[in-house]
């Protein structure tokens, strides 16, 4: 169990900007995102498609920086480095200090290699010199931990031989195998059916509680966020528009966009859905930060 200082942020994003294009014509898609995640905290980044939530996650992993025609400014402090710069430092921490879970676990696993080989490489990210036998032993233990009934058989399977739910368990086991500080979950299980998706989130919750891992949950599903997250950032068109604890945000949404999002949750009582306008001048209102959710004041990094 790692030492947890609940005040110290694990991830601090400051004025993060991202633009695509060349020198003469660049389109900015993130207009200065600032957010933080404390140790052991579960934070959700909520917004509609194209709001910039997924690219924020990928920037934190250092996955976009080395691509052509990509311009990043601002900082992403994580584990003593600035991940916004991309490059080797953050690359060395991937799979090890920070891990990621994807929408569709079955397509996130390579179809031409058994789980065993991929799990070995995941463990190698944490320990370059790990022996095969030791890696297999740890992989089996990790799969048993996420309640996979026959870990040996799962390791000797290809992803397409397992169910989506099984693969999601495998992904969670892989993600947490090296005990990362931060887990980024990009719409986990959206490709799976609702029941399996709920099980996935429950398992992810339990496992990260156990390992003390902080979570950044990327989602457009407010129902999921309400169940899972301690704190929520609402992102709209590349800007954070509202930020507070989950309770504050759901009980007292203040930004017009957040209110519109909440109104768009289907209710069992029926009555039809109000239209969520694609753009509204109200949505451009300045950031609203709820009480007690401001940026921690102590020194970073």
């Amino acid at each position: 169990m790692m030492e947890i200082n609940p005040q110290k942020p694990v991830l601090t994003v400051r004025d993060l900007r991202l633009a695509f294009g060349d020198r003469h014509h660049a389109t900015e898609v993130l207009h200065g995102i600032s957010m933080h995640i404390r140790a052991g905290e579960k934070v959700a980044l909520v917004g509609e498609s194209g709001s910039g939530k997924s690219v924020t996650a990928r920037l934190a992993m250092g996955l976009l920086q080395d691509q052509k025609r990509t311009h990043v400014s601002g900082s992403i402090w994580f584990d003593g480095i600035d991940a916004a710069k991309g490059g080797k430092e953050i690359a060395r921490r991937r799979g090890n200090r920070v891990a990621m879970i994807f929408q569709d676990p079955t397509s996130a696993l390579n179809p031409t290699f058994k789980i065993r080989g991929q799990f070995r490489d995941v463990l190698r990210s944490g320990d370059r010199s790990i022996a095969k036998a030791e890696a297999d032993r740890r992989a089996e233990a990790a799969l048993a931990e996420v309640s996979i009934p026959d870990p040996k058989r799962a390791l000797d399977s290809y992803a397409f031989q397992l169910s989506g739910g099984m693969n999601q368990r495998v992904m969670i086991a892989m993600a947490l195998a090296n005990r990362p500080q931060l887990l980024i979950a990009d719409e986990p299980g959206t490709a799976l059916d609702v029941t399996v998706q709920a099980q996935t989130l429950k398992l992810m919750h339990e496992m990260t509680e156990r390992t003390g891992t902080s979570v950044l949950l990327i989602s457009h599903n407010l129902g999921v966020v309400r169940e899972f997250a301690d704190r929520v950032y609402v992102i709209y068109r590349g800007r954070i528009v509202e930020h507070g604890t989950t309770a504050q945000l759901f009980n007292d949404p203040r930004h017009p966009y957040t209110r519109a999002l909440l109104a768009a949750i289907p209710k069992i009582s029926g009555g039809g859905l109000p239209d969520l306008p694609e753009r509204s001048p109200d949505f451009e209102n300045p950031l609203i930060t709820h009480e007690g959710c401001g940026e921690p004041t102590e020194a970073f990094a």
Binding site: R92, F102, N110, F113
Partner: protein
């Protein structure tokens, strides 16, 4: 393994059907060629008695189905008739010339894979950067330039100007051939324990093999590159990057293997096509192979020899395709395991 065996039997059955089709086609061509097949087969110097005897022997006066049946029977018993050009049984000629061609095509295939795949991997790995530009240029030149032009260029530059390689033939004058055990020069030299002879044979083999490989090599590189670029967009490659797998390992394993599956099918076709392309390369390099023999006998309207050569090359083509199909099945777990379940 039984599923692979089953698929092998299935392919063999299909190949048999193709062979029957080809034999019918060749049979028909031999019958529609103007003139008397017996006269053509025996050449202009044969007497009327000889022609009549052959007509009788080949049942040329019988109805067509009977003729076809007799043709199939003689092929099945290993009798392909006699070559006018060499005045020997066609089977003897083929046994002599086929190994040299197979050796050439086999080494070309190895070069195609050993050079083409790495160029494709490097191009995809360094997409849009310098190694990619070089790789694409090589593969474009390889695909666009016919094998015999490559033959002449390689002969001229590497053989004549720089003198690195012998210009033609299978062995140097000073080297005596090893006793023919398999007919493959390299193998026979190795069996005879003649190291210098082996190297000499290899030295002679490289230029023609490279000339023959260039087109398939270019195609292989192009396909590997484009298939890998497609695979690089897949979630499992992003997963590999997100979990810190080394970039080189992603290129050579996690992106390469899924990209290899569609590439391999085309690679097999390219390999088989070399059997046909070999004839001009063999001509350019004075290579004593079956393809060159095939050209000679076509030019001389040596009917039995043409029929024999076509049948053997068709069979070789089919065998290569079967091998490639099996390899694709082995390398693609989805097919392998699905076949096992069925």
């Amino acid at each position: 393994m039984s599923n692979i065996l089953r698929s092998l039997l299935h392919r063999l059955g299909a190949a048999l059907i193709v062979m029957i089709g080809i034999s019918m086609l060749i049979f028909a061509i031999a019958r529609v060629m103007p003139g008397d097949p017996a006269r053509i087969a025996l050449g202009p110097n044969a007497t009327a008695e000889q022609v009549a005897a052959l007509r009788l022997e080949r049942h040329l006066d019988a109805p067509l189905p009977v003729q076809y049946w007799e043709f199939v029977k003689s092929v099945a018993t290993g009798d392909l008739g006699k070559s006018l050009y060499t005045n020997r049984p066609v089977t003897t000629d083929i046994a002599q010339f086929l190994p040299a061609t197979l050796e050439l095509v086999f080494v070309s295939g190895i070069l195609m894979v050993l050079i083409g795949l790495p160029i494709g991997i490097l191009s995809a790995h360094y997409r849009g950067r310098f190694p990619d530009h070089v790789g694409r240029l090589i593969s474009l030149l390889g695909v666009c330039t016919p094998a015999f032009v490559w033959g002449v260029i390689l002969q001229l530059v590497l053989g004549y100007f720089w003198g690195w390689f012998p210009i033609e033939g299978q062995l140097s004058q000073s080297v005596t051939a090893a006793p023919a055990v398999t007919g493959f020069m390299l193998v026979d030299m190795a069996i005879a324990g003649n190291g210098a002879g082996f190297l000499d044979a290899l030295h002679h083999l490289i230029l023609p093999a490279l000339a023959l490989a260039m087109s398939g090599l270019g195609q292989t590189a192009r396909l590997t590159r484009s298939n890998m670029n497609e695979v690089y967009e897949r979630p499992y490659v992003e997963m590999a990057r997100a979990y810190g797998f080394p970039a080189r390992r992603i290129a050579t394993r996690y992106a390469f293997r899924p990209a290899l599956i569609p590439t391999l099918t085309i690679l097999g076709l390219e390999f088989a096509a070399m059997l046909g392309n070999a004839f001009l390369v063999e001509k350019v390099f004075g290579w004593p192979g079956l393809s060159r023999y095939g050209v000679e006998v076509i030019l001389r309207k040596d009917l039995d020899a043409i029929v024999g050569t076509v049948l053997v090359i068709a069979a070789a083509f089919l065998i290569v395709n079967i091998i490639v199909d099996i390899l694709v099945n082995i390398i693609n777990p989805r097919i392998r395991l699905a076949a096992g379940r069925a």
